[in-house]
């Protein structure tokens, strides 16, 4: 049964209180390596939001109309990852045809996304929490926005910390992780406003 949450609360919870990145640690790899550069962060954030919304919807349909009726839910990992890889591939082709500008902005990030944990993570959470179709789309879109917001914020902060005098051992990943830690605390501040999950 789908949990009884208003779409509005779900949307904000997935952006802020249970931010896919800062509360669930998903999508960390590309988060740390890409956030060096502000413009690529923007592009990747956009691509993640886009792909996340679409794949969550498709995965919901596949799970509920193919896996459940045939009682092969245990295959969900393989099926989800295939759906994600296929969707990314198809999207890449469509975007290339339809809009060259969008392709230039998102193109190089799309292949990276297949192995982004956030995409698979959202699909698994969606299935675990029994969201219905509308809730899944909202959850996917909200999580994508949350990821985008987090990477933009980190990229902006890193511009400053790159020039700050940091102990030699902390340079690079060390200080970035500490920054992420503080961001996670800041985002946790929202949790008083809304029920988490």
């Amino acid at each position: 049964m789908a949990p009884d949450i208003s779409p509005f609360i779900l949307f904000f919870a997935s952006i802020f209180t249970s931010n896919i990145l800062l509360a669930n640690f998903l999508g960390m790899c590309s988060f740390i390596s890409v956030s060096k550069d502000y413009n690529s962060s923007n592009g990747l954030g956009m691509a993640v939001t886009f792909v996340l919304t679409i794949t969550t919807a498709i995965n919901w349909l596949v799970y509920n109309y193919i896996l459940v009726p045939f009682e092969i839910e245990y295959l969900r990992y393989i099926v989800f990852i295939i759906v994600i890889a296929a969707t990314v591939q198809v999207l890449e082709m469509i975007i290339e045809r339809v809009s060259m500008n969008l392709y230039m902005a998102l193109g190089i990030f799309l292949p990276l996304i297949t192995v982004n944990c956030a995409i698979l993570g959202v699909a698994l959470f969606m299935q675990l929490r029994d969201y219905n179709f509308i809730q899944s789309i909202i959850f996917g879109f909200g999580s994508g926005l949350g990821w985008w917001l987090a990477i933009m914020a980190l990229a902006a902060i890193r511009k400053k910390t790159d020039r700050a005098p940091v102990p030699a051992g902390l340079k690079g990943p060390g200080i970035t992780l500490i920054t992420i830690g503080f961001m996670a605390i800041a985002f946790m501040g929202f949790s008083g406003m809304l029920a988490v999950q």
């Binding site: 640690f25 990992y77 393989i78 990852i81 297949t114 698979l120 902390l170 060390g174 500490i178």
Partner: protein, 203 residues
Amino acid sequence: MMANNTARGILKDNLWTNNAIFVQILGICSTLAVTNKLENTLIMAIGVILVMGFTNLTVSIIKSLIPRKVRMIVQTLIISFYVIIVDIILKAYLPEISRALGPYVGLIITNCIIMGRAEAFAQSNKPVISFWDGITSGAGYMYVLLIIAFVRELLGFGTIFGMNVLPESFIKWTIMVMPPSAFFMLAILIWVFKGIMEKKEAK
């Protein structure tokens, strides 16, 4: 980077000089989330080691059969195949831990280290040594996570493997149970590690 291809060289490389977490900052996505309890971390890390070892073995055995263009997706499928096995075993024998780990077992699939090792090592090496490489990379990953989990559980719950070790009067650090502390702990560990490395280089 991989100058040394003997079993011992690989061991040292994967555990220390080229540790996946310290040096490459890879694969922290799925597993940091479970580091607030030692027990969960241990099970999760063992799962990662098994998946990594067998994935490397499989990729190495069938590498000549995989067309280059689709090798990424084939590797992903091999990984998901082993993850499903791990997931089913956990559900059967350790249902409580399986529930606590939730979706994170499935997220081993997108753990960048596994794919990274398959791509960087198993793709161009013999099966047995690839298997060894997978196991040792996993072990290098495991001990880092166990250190983080040890501190987080000790300070956050006052326990080690669920046993009370600190006196009642100890005030628990709530922050250690929450996500931010994992980032801080990892940052501190990287700092310590880099400090040691730099001292060695200076000598």
